[in-house]
Subunit: 206 residues, 2 copies
């Protein structure tokens, strides 16, 4: 005990606070509209601290995307839908879960990397790559369950598990855009319902 402040591995308080500020500001205003000063103000640190931890704003963007991958990875890995032993139920449970977390303000349930990649795909290759890795990394986990469900059902359709997993991410990302345009989560929820219905139809369930 004794050391409330960890000796070696971390304690870079400012860095964590900046990443946190990046999550909320970029999700609300976008990457470009979020200035370095905004981030420092929100995080309660100075510009010196910012450029000590990130050598440019772009590097913070990359770090934010990577941190997002980590956080969401943990978040979904510990979600209850993994309990089902039937892989199809896990996929459906995943969608129920995603629908259930459409709570609160729009900026609180939308996707950081989906927002960021829209602005940066043509101008900041490093950010684009980090966002791509985040999305496809998440999709790969769903793909595994879909592939298992396919094998268990003895199905060999003309679509791949990967394309369906990516399609599910497209639906979610698109649902977020409609929610932003509309100002509410309702539309997003109904879109997830359609996706769930589609998967049920594909697997002849219920």
């Amino acid at each position: 005990m004794s050391n409330t402040t960890r000796s070696k591995p971390n304690k870079p308080d400012a860095r964590a606070k900046l990443l946190d500020a990046a999550f909320s500001l970029i999700r609300a205003k976008g990457y470009c509209a979020t200035s370095v000063d905004d981030l420092c103000r929100e995080a309660g640190v100075t510009k010196g601290a910012f450029f000590h931890h990130f050598k440019s704003k772009e590097e913070l963007g990359v770090a934010a995307a990577n941190h997002w991958s980590e956080m969401t990875g943990i978040f979904f890995a510990t979600a209850p839908y993994h309990d089902h032993q039937d892989p199809l139920e896990r996929v459906l449970g995943y969608l129920d879960f995603r629908r259930a977390i459409l709570q609160g303000e729009v900026r609180e349930f939308t996707c950081l990397v989906g927002t960021m990649v829209q602005e940066t795909y043509d101008t900041a290759p490093a950010i684009r790559a980090a966002c791509e890795a985040s999305i496809s990394g998440h999709a790969a986990k769903i793909e595994a369950d879909i592939a298992e469900a396919l094998a268990r059902a003895g199905m060999k359709p003309d679509w791949s598990a990967k394309s369906l997993a990516l399609h599910s991410q497209a639906v979610l990302q698109g649902a977020f855009i409609l929610a932003k345009a509309n100002g509410g989560a309702e539309i997003a929820g109904e879109s997830i319902d359609h996706l769930k219905r589609y998967i049920c139809l594909l697997f002849n369930r219920s």
Copy 2:
């Protein structure tokens, strides 16, 4: 005849050129990263011209979204899929058409208002509203065909024509995000395939 340049209603050359510049720049870099100077440079006009036609950058954003609604309205209204007398075939033809126009660079086939609303939904209410009108206006046209297909098939499902029309827009918008992240149109095309397959399953077709 005689007046190639319309007498009253338009001919504001600079305005049209600025709107044109807005289309290509905002689709490539986003709304915030596109500066007024950028727009003037691309359009080949001066700042004076810009602020003569638009009293602020936000007003240009609104005008661009409205112009986008007009242009895409005409573009889709004159597309060949309207020839089908069967409403379901029109819906499916619409999706084939949307898949077919995924050509060239990503910035050339993605959606202006979908891109813009992500950045502005929380900071520029007027732009958000214009983007919302654009998306839901377009969706309403598809909704009409879906409703007609539903009536013709004598179906009364537990989902509405409106929600399916909006879902199709969510899929398209999400497909654009994946295309931006991935750098290619392939993923987007496959997502549209999934949507088409879904609608076929819903209507028990082929």
